[in-house]
């Protein structure tokens, strides 16, 4: 095309192209704070001449592309589950730490108070008041174990509830991704629309990878297929393979199923993986240690107590109600009904003489007896080890989270540097396209003036 009318058309196309460039800058500025938004770039191409001595046909818009680094996006999907897993463990263990309490104000204090009362009994074995105190402190120690066991169990149930909430979110996100996958067909050929869909999928994948360890494969149309664990499908095209929840024995805690297969052990990453690790490994370990401590207190105190004689000259009965095994001991520990009803039945003497304090002294000295962990630790040593374990686990999770959060943060920063909107850059683009528009408008005006002059000659 040549001639003045051709020039007018060329100017009009150029005006369109520059205005489009301005629109893209506006779109970028509008979405400067939109999560997952990747900045758009317009690509313009010069139209080649179509005849000899023609300079060309101006410009045309050849594309609109979103700036993404897929390598970074994939690395983020790999790193985020580990970071969120450690965060979930750290948050859950922070609750356990509050349950454990401060040194000297928890089970250790109850143990000390209990053995203190036994010490007072040794100093005054015939005192009814001191005997009542021993019974009361024994019941207090049992109550302290009950409270701690109950709080640990509640923390475990709360963690299970977090697993269930997480699975619900996973299924909702899977639905969202499937729906977005289905939209690619309708958006085909509309470049801006497909880029928006990709951004939205990116946001959904970010949330999903915070919950579980996932793998993705990008489809030819721009959509994604998502699998989790050892390759179990979650989203294939527009089909969703939901994670099902069942309640497993013995506590009714959530089990995760995919197409009828139990996949609980395969979810090792994301917040769900962290909550499962806490619920199924860490918290039961703490409960076992607490049970072992309570069970050993029961068996050791009873063993000493039953060698003695009470105020009536009768052989000592069990001080604590005997337990069959350590399992559940912290919840089951209680002083014997006979002791609770009549503290004069507390055995203090090695002989039937009231005033003999031999057994009361042994009872009090159990405080320092190495009866835990194969005869190598005292009760307080064992509690100290328990406190150390909880603290060390929590610290390790917190440190691991900090380290992984730094990696994720750096990657998100790198992603932002690649895909984020720079207001300076967009302002420059705005000026660039605005000035170009103005220049093209002047060119249009020049051609128009030329045409007008030509028309006036034709008069």
């Amino acid at each position: 095309m040549s001639g003045l009318f051709g020039s007018l058309s060329m100017a009009a196309r150029a005006l369109d192209a520059q205005r489009y460039g301005l629109d893209v800058a506006g779109q970028n500025i509008a979405n400067v704070n939109t999560p997952g938004y990747s900045r758009r770039q317009v690509t313009l191409s010069a139209l080649p001449p179509d005849e000899f001595l023609s300079p060309g046909n101006g410009v045309e818009i050849t594309g609109l592309r979103a700036t993404r680094d897929m390598r970074l996006e994939r690395r983020l999907q790999q790193e985020r589950p580990a970071e969120q897993r450690e965060l979930a463990i750290s948050q859950s263990l922070a609750i356990v730490e509050t349950i454990v309490g401060k040194p000297g104000e928890s089970i250790d204090a109850a143990l000390s108070t209990f053995f203190d009362s036994a010490g007072r009994l040794a100093a005054d074995p015939t005192s009814a008041t001191v005997r009542q105190e021993v019974a009361t402190q024994g019941a207090g120690l049992a109550s302290e174990f009950h409270d701690m066991a109950s709080r640990l169990a509640q923390a475990r149930r709360d963690t299970d509830a977090s697993v269930r909430d997480g699975v619900t979110q996973v299924n909702a996100l899977a639905q969202r991704i499937a729906k977005l996958n289905a939209s690619f067909g309708a958006a085909s050929g509309v470049e801006g629309a497909t880029e928006t869909l990709k951004d939205e999928i990116g946001v959904a994948l970010k949330s999903l990878s915070s919950l579980v360890n996932i793998s993705t494969i990008t489809r030819a149309d721009g959509g994604v297929d998502v699998t989790f664990g050892s390759g179990h499908p979650l989203v294939l095209d527009d089909n969703v393979y939901s994670l099902d929840l069942t309640s497993g024995p013995p506590n009714g805690f959530a089990r995760l199923q995919s197409a009828g297969t139990d996949v609980t052990s395969e979810v090792t990453g994301g917040s769900i993986g962290g909550f499962l690790q806490t619920r199924d490994v860490l918290m039961p370990g703490y409960a076992d240690k607490l049970d072992t401590l309570a069970y050993t207190v029961v068996t050791q105190v009873n063993a000493v107590h039953q060698t003695g004689y009470d105020m009536h000259g009768a052989t000592g009965a069990a001080f604590f109600t005997p337990l069959g095994s350590a399992a559940g001991a912290a919840s089951a520990i209680s002083i014997s009904a006979g002791i609770a009803a009549d503290p004069s039945t507390i055995a203090a003497g090695t002989t039937a003489t009231p005033g003999d304090n031999g057994v009361a002294r042994q009872f009090a000295n159990l405080r320092d007896a190495r009866v835990m962990t194969g005869g190598t630790a005292t009760f307080s040593d064992s509690w100290g080890t328990f406190v150390y374990q909880v603290g060390a686990d929590s610290r390790a999770a917190s440190d691991e989270h900090s380290s992984r959060a730094e990696i994720v943060s750096q990657m998100e920063l790198m992603r932002e540097q690649v895909s984020g909107v720079s207001l300076d850059e967009e302002a420059a683009n705005m000026m660039k396209f605005q000035r170009a528009y103005e220049a093209n408008a002047r060119f249009f005006q020049a051609i128009d003036n030329t045409l007008e002059a030509l028309m006036s000659l034709a008069g």
């Binding site: 040194p103 000390s112 005033g355 405080r367 984020g420 300076d424």
Partner: protein, 297 residues
Amino acid sequence: MRTTFNSSYMISAADLARTSEDLAKRQAQVSSGRRISKPSDDPSASSGSVHEHAEMAALDRYAQTADTATARLSIVDSVLSDMLDQLTSAKTTILNARGSNVTATQRGALADQLSGLRDAILADYGTSFNGNYLFSGEAAKTAPYTKNANGTVSAYAGTATTMAVDVDRNTAVTVSLSGDAVARGTDTVDIFAALDQAITDVRAGNAAGMADAGAAVERAFGRATSAQTGIGTAMNAVEIHQGRVADLRRASEGRAAGLEQVNMAEAITKMSQADTAYRAALGAIGNTGRKSLMDYL
């Protein structure tokens, strides 16, 4: 490197969160005076702190037991002193009755005096502490000797074994005495029977009997002296262990403080540094995005 509005914001926000957390932690340390508020702050120190609290509780118990033991032993010591006075008087009374120019009336008065001394010694043996007899061995609720209606003192009703309490790890002290060991020892009869016989002999003017009674009282004096020496030794031992337990308590308290408490000067300095860092981060985030090309268009 391409810098966007959000990348600057992300860096500033992360810095702000980090400095804010650090400042809150330092403030909590200064206001509470504690370095550890939860086990994860320092797992080893938390575990050590548990151990120190248990140690302090055990030492406190030993200290309380030692205080009670000291009180009991002081009473026993005082009673034995009184008993020695009574026995000295008994010896003197018997000696006075042995003189050749002592009349029957005078011997009768001296016999009555001996009877009073016997009752005083009986009262000494019946001393109790917080309702527990101190001379009944382990039978704290049983009076060691009682006087029946016809004025005769019963046989020893307590136990030969004595009561001991723990005043330190692996250290026990005896806080009761077997009345029989003091009143009779290896003699065939106890001091009460010996005094009863002495009263009879004094009234009858039986010089040989009075000599035997004097010897029996002398032996009883020796046993009481020996018992008092033992009590004195026990009190010294308790005092030594009280000092040791107090030293251990202070050391344990010091270790616990070292584990749990902050060095206030260091904590305040670090809080000040954290405050400066926080203010700097606030300033940085306040400036983020303030200048851009948009401002010049």
